[in-house]
């Protein structure tokens, strides 16, 4: 592997370009991220003189960029994916000094969200490498900025999917930072200072207090971490679409990270809950452990038929393509089908059921900060946490493979506090 020093020497050699270069070569990269990412490895291809000049200019520009370790004053350590293979490995980087509005905390646990899997493999096409995932982050405050009002050292806190927004648009002023067009994601996004954000598979976190939630002492940190994404993702639509009324009949499609949280929240809100799943073997779990009232196997036509027009709302957590018509059929008139899983391909929408029953198909994406705090407090009050499997950070790549096969009940949570240092 070529070190940074060797790379610079080669570049300096290139600076004195011979008229017809034959032997000195540099690999031409398009894209700032790849230049940073591949800075240490050079393969040779022959370029024209003009191309080499362009390449030199380009790389010189990139040399001005600092390495992740040097960007900020605080030393940080985490696990990152380096490329689209998605394989995670130890990664040294840095975080900013605690600004006047910032809260710094030692990360104790981080939940593994299916989005982390999509992002490390660049499945949505917007990943920047190295990528430190993790947006279900919990820990204990170590330092607060001079203008921080809501948090003190020693508080148990969490950070979810967002670390910034514009604060001034209609959505931000209505506590809907999650719908702000300039919302900044917790990882693989550009922060206000132009640096890339790194997520919670890391030892420390610095975040603006606006995007930090307080975790009540009564909640166990490890099982609370998944609330910060999975929890709010289902809590928010239950409220917005009015499905939080006692006695309502709510269907939950898919029994995974999101689905199992939806069952718990809906039950706590007083709903009758039916789990709709393709896996008959999840019935026992759904009813006995999660207290769902009933279970429908979605491929069983008779069961679906019998439940026609019985539900006030359905929360659909499945991101794989599936037909919507049977689900709209399960709804009563004025019923609502809410999609929180995000498949890539469009679904087919039959218009008749929507019109004849004045039904609605809507979406939802996490929740605003105020609502996220409300959700955490609600969970504390009702004793709601996620069903988790705690793992050491070295297990993370295996966990990702198992998550891909939905082989987890129902969220992996990385024991950052106890295992991250030992892997340096």
């Amino acid at each position: 592997m070529v070190t940074r020093e060797k790379f610079i020497v080669q570049l300096m050699k290139l600076g004195n370009l011979p008229a017809e270069p034959e032997n000195d070569v540099v690999e031409w990269r398009q894209g700032a991220d790849e230049a940073r990412d591949r800075g240490g490895s050079i393969k040779g291809i022959t370029l024209t003189h003009q191309q080499k000049i362009q390449a030199l200019e380009f790389v010189k520009e990139k040399m001005a960029d600092k390495l992740p370790e040097e960007e900020h004053p605080k030393v940080a350590f985490g696990w990152a994916a380096r490329d689209q293979s998605g394989v995670l490995s130890p990664f040294k980087f840095s975080r900013r000094a605690t600004g006047e509005k910032d809260v710094s905390f030692k990360v104790l646990y981080c939940g593994m969200c299916h989005s982390d899997l999509h992002m490390i493999k660049n499945e949505w096409g917007n990943s920047t490498y190295p990528l430190v995932p993790g947006h279900e982050i919990v820990g204990v405050v170590t330092e607060v900025g001079s203008k921080v009002e809501k948090f003190k050292v020693g508080h148990k806190v969490g950070v979810g999917c967002m670390v910034g927004s514009c604060y001034s648009c209609d959505n931000c002023t209505n506590d809907l930072e999650n719908y702000c067009s300039q919302m900044i994601l917790t990882y693989s996004a550009k922060y206000y200072d132009g640096t890339i954000t790194y997520g919670g598979y890391s030892d420390i976190m610095v975040a603006d207090e606006h995007f930090v939630v307080r975790i009540p002492d009564s909640l166990p940190l490890d099982a609370t971490a998944p609330l910060l994404c999975a929890g709010i993702t289902v809590y928010s639509p239950l409220k917005y679409y009015g499905l939080d009324k006692p006695g309502f009949h709510v269907g939950v499609v898919g029994l995974g990270g999101l689905g199992h949280m939806a069952v718990k929240f809906a039950k706590a809100m007083g709903a009758k809950v039916t789990v709709i799943s393709t896996s008959p073997n999840k019935k026992q779990e759904a009813i006995k452990r999660l207290s769902a009232d009933s279970f429908l196997v979605s491929r069983d036509q008779d069961q679906i038929q019998a439940a026609t027009g019985t539900m006030d709302g359905i929360i659909d957590t499945v991101s794989a393509s599936h037909p919507l018509l049977p689900l709209t059929g399960l709804l009563k008139s004025h019923g609502k089908l809410i999609l929180v899983g995000a498949p890539e391909k469009p679904f087919e929408l039959p218009a008749f059921p929507l019109l004849m029953g004045r039904k609605v198909v809507g979406g939802s994406c996490i929740g605003g900060m105020k609502e996220t705090q409300e959700m955490v407090d609600f969970a504390a009050k009702h004793g709601i946490t996620s069903d988790i499997e705690v793992i050491p950070v070295e297990y993370v790549n295996t966990a990702m493979e198992r998550m891909l096969k939905a082989d987890v009940r129902y969220r992996f949570v990385i024991d950052i506090g106890n295992t991250i240092k030992s892997s340096i």
Partner: protein, 360 residues
């Protein structure tokens, strides 16, 4: 042996009916029930020609029973009232819309949402409480349960007001249900036909900013100068559509042809709502990402309840809202249907039943 439509009931009626899937209408003698205690008998003056009439006559929805007398935008005068009828008196000008009955006992009926009652009875091509077929307003008279008759406000002309009984309520109801009545909000209306043009007027009366979205550039002048829309977007002009991304709070989609929803969803702001009123015969393609990332929703709506229909008529009378109509004689109906199939009407045909039917 079933009785012929002429002999089923005691009152003789004359109208025009489609006799087969060609949808061609021709004179038809039939009968209606005696005016019961709850009933109102109405001499029909005008009947609007709704696109649903066309779909039904030609069996495009696959459920037509012939002979089929269409017409559910009916305005007339009361000629007889049953002993329990208190709301109407002989001589009143009244309207009948898309429904003539419901179960009256389910949760929907109890909430004035008869249109969502699973047993609601349509004005035509449906089965009435006595098991006989319902016949619509392309006829000289109709007998209707008083709960399905509305007062026609004094300020509303019978001809230009008739289409409100279907087109009007079909756009008014979702505007209220989905919260589109806050002045200053921005509504996009897709399609400028019978539904669309009434929607523009009602929306302006609610104080909304209105953009008409249409595939026909030639409708722009109409939309802005005559109907009062604030802006006009040509839906296949990619550049203009791009410029309007994320600007609308709501969209009412009146188009029944199969069309792409993705460009319409992108016009909505976050938390925006797309309400579809047209009934295409194939499912539409719904991209999910915009729904999830922007908390947008797609909803439907189907006419409105009786209470709301009366409210809508009163609202339109107050704001001088009527439809733009082309009045025709009954015997011109087949030509009108052909023109309607080509969208060649600004924007509703209305049959002058009162004057033209009796002469035939």
């Amino acid at each position: 042996m079933a009785k012929s439509s002429e002999a089923q009931h005691p009152q003789k009626v004359f109208g025009w009916a489609a006799k087969d899937t060609s949808g061609i209408l021709s004179p038809f003698h039939f009968s209606r029930r005696e005016n019961g205690d709850e009933d109102v008998s109405i001499k029909i003056l005008y009947c609007g020609v709704c696109h649903s009439d066309l779909h039904s006559c030609r069996n495009e929805w696959g459920n037509a029973h012939y002979p089929l007398v269409p017409g559910h935008e009916i305005v007339g005068t009361v000629t007889k009232i049953g002993s329990n009828v208190k709301k109407f008196k002989v001589g009143d000008r009244v309207g009948v819309g898309v429904m003539v009955g419901s179960c009256k006992s389910c949760e929907y009926c109890k909430q004035d949402l008869e249109n969502y009652c699973p047993k609601h009875i349509l004005t035509y091509n449906s089965i009435d409480n006595d098991g006989t077929r319902t016949y619509g307003g392309y006829a000289d008279m109709i007998v209707v349960d008083q709960n399905f008759v509305v007062h026609f406000p004094d300020g509303l002309p019978s001809d230009a007001g008739a289409p409100l009984l279907c087109a009007g309520i079909t756009v008014y109801s979702p505007m209220k249900y989905y919260g589109m009545t806050e002045p200053g909000k921005h509504l996009g209306i897709v399609g400028l036909g019978g539904l669309g043009h009434v929607a523009v007027r009602i929306a302006k009366a609610f104080g909304l900013k209105v953009t008409v979205i249409s595939s026909s550039p030639r409708k722009e002048s109409e939309a802005i100068n005559r109907l009062g829309a604030d802006a006009f977007l040509v839906s296949n002009d990619a550049g203009k559509m791009k410029g309007a991304i994320g600007t609308m709070d709501f969209i009412i989609d009146t188009v029944s042809a199969v069309h792409a929803l993705a460009p319409l969803l992108s016009l909505l702001k976050a938390n925006g709502k797309l309400i579809t009123l047209g009934l295409p015969n194939k499912p539409l393609e719904l991209p999910i990402f915009p729904l999830v990332l922007g908390r947008k929703l797609v909803g439907g709506s189907d006419i409105g309840g009786m209470k709301e229909t009366q409210e809508m008529l009163d609202f339109c009378a107050k704001h001088n809202i009527t439809a733009d109509v082309e009045v025709i004689r009954m015997d011109e109906i087949n030509t009108a249907m052909d023109r309607l199939a080509k969208s060649d009407v600004k924007y509703r045909f209305v049959i002058d039943v009162g004057s033209s039917l009796s002469q035939l």
